[in-house]
Subunit: 173 residues, 2 copies
């Protein structure tokens, strides 16, 4: 299933700088799914078949997917084929911190750092549409500071940047 064994230290998955590189990520899926089970257990919620499958689908593609794309895959696996099926599963994953919603793309992506209380920043390549989830605590800190200065309390934040990944930058040059 995976071409190398490890716990949580795969450079291809845990380092944002390799998120744009081609790499085997079957094991990422393994890791994340295992952790997802643990997180659901902890939170007292159920990672039911549809929900788990939705997460697997996101993990497999390793990119942002629209709700209808996920739905199509779910339906192919014998689950319902009406929009709420996908939206509900995805909403659950987002609530539990197992997936992120990327508004710029009207899409969803599996979280590669579930349960780690991270401050995700999405770097969206306009060349190849890949999405890297970088951990950027300093960004969140700066945001909290700016908000605090005017008495605003941040509960959730979306940081999405559009630009060019290293590969596409090189290709363009």
């Amino acid at each position: 299933m995976s071409n190398h064994a490890h716990d949580h230290d795969c450079p291809g998955c845990s380092s944002p700088d390799l998120a744009f590189s081609r790499h085997d990520h079957a094991h990422c899926a393994q890791d994340v799914l295992a952790r997802a089970d643990a997180i659901a257990e902890e939170n007292g919620v159920r990672l039911t078949p549809v929900r788990r499958r939705a997460l697997e689908i996101l993990l497999e593609s390793h990119r942002a997917m629209g709700a209808y794309d996920v739905l199509q895959r779910l339906a192919a696996d014998g689950f319902g084929n009406q929009p709420p099926v996908a939206y509900r599963a995805l909403e659950f994953l987002v609530e539990q911190g197992l997936a992120h919603r990327i508004r710029r793309l009207n899409a969803f992506a599996a979280c590669m750092h579930p349960g780690e209380d991270h401050a995700p920043v999405f770097l969206i390549c306009r060349g190849c549409n890949a999405v890297a989830e970088a951990q950027a605590a300093p960004v969140r800190a700066a945001l909290d500071a700016a908000a605090a200065a005017i008495g605003f309390s941040v509960e959730r934040a979306n940081v999405e940047a559009l630009g060019l990944c290293p590969a596409c930058k090189e290709a363009a040059a």
Copy 2:
């Protein structure tokens, strides 16, 4: 039209900490529109009647508006009443830096600092739906740094935070 005259230093408009406060902003609109004319001139683009009116509409409401809401207002003023009329005008405004798109709300808001090359951060109050446009250069700097570290070039960034404004926080308590 405005109850006090000034150039670009109205606290109610230029200070993010007052963005949530009730304040007269007829003059903000005046200022921004004047600057919008100048910017269009500079950029060699035309701030045509629909476009200008769309900006006025956003400025009047002083909040984020959906494209269809803007469309309704435009139609009432004798412009076309089909979606592309609004989307095109809004797209123009966004491209010229005269308005911002707030994806979390599927909405648009006039930029209160046109032409100033700012790093806007949107603070969206989930209590009253007000949107404050804070200038947060440090946030952008942190984002650029995180992106640069992995060779990603940021071209455009959206930073949107959901939370509670001072007034709603107090009301909740």
